[in-house]
Symmetry: C2
Subunit: 142 residues, 2 copies
């Protein structure tokens, strides 16, 4: 809810309009723990706003991305997933069976990033770290 307000604020400040669809979409984004896909968001928005289109969900996410308030996890074989709770790069843990994605607690990558900067001459801007595995549930039901 704080997140939702913050994003609304940023939308206003940047001259974007606040529409009911946008409020609904970014509320879902900011409050979902589960890293929803566009389709997931679309289905949830439609409960209250049945005429909403997929295109609107895509366009809204695109705006929020520009504002730096959502992290996009890209996949090539399935829909991208979104993290609106925490838009800065952080590790994810993805179950290869049920495709649940969680945010594990993990030591900082800062030392690795420094190592890289020193060794390569690249200016590091960001990163992505995904671990793939079997969640406890899927280990039990094979």
């Amino acid at each position: 809810m704080l997140r939702t307000e913050r994003i609304l604020q940023k939308l206003r400040e940047t001259g974007h309009r606040i529409t009911p669809q946008r409020i609904a979409i970014l509320r879902i984004l900011a409050e979902s723990r589960g890293h929803p896909s566009v389709e997931d968001i679309y289905e949830k928005v439609k409960v209250n706003f049945p005429t909403t289109s997929l295109a609107t969900v895509y366009k809204t996410i695109s705006v929020i991305k520009e504002l730096g308030e959502v992290l996009e996890l890209e996949f090539s074989k399935e829909q991208n997933r979104y993290d609106g709770k925490n838009p800065s790069p952080h590790p994810h843990l993805i179950c290869v069976k049920c495709r649940e994605i969680i945010d594990p607690k993990l030591s900082s990558l800062e030392p690795l990033t420094q190592e890289l900067t020193a060794n390569t001459g690249y200016r590091i801007l960001s990163h992505r770290l995904d671990f793939y595995g079997l969640c406890p549930k899927c280990q039990q039901n094979p």
Copy 2:
């Protein structure tokens, strides 16, 4: 060339046929330092085998993937890239401007993986770690 031989060997062992197109494709895969895309491979193969189709490149990569001899780096906004030199998970360094992808030397992720296993109950199978930044060349030519 050792890599090429190894993959050819595995193809034979698993009952796949060795065709000129396949030899050409996996040679490019196994010898390219630059993490080529399907399109990159396609263009190179066509120099010697002008009738080759994109579908054949896709199908061949799919077979080599099944054999565990190529690492696929998935992207949602551009073509996937392939690492045939080293098919086990390792970090990549991606220039956000020229899209060059290199394999940096970096400390092992083993400690992080152990930390995760201990904290989450997941059975970790694999991972992907990409760093995004500006390569030295692109820092100079902005």
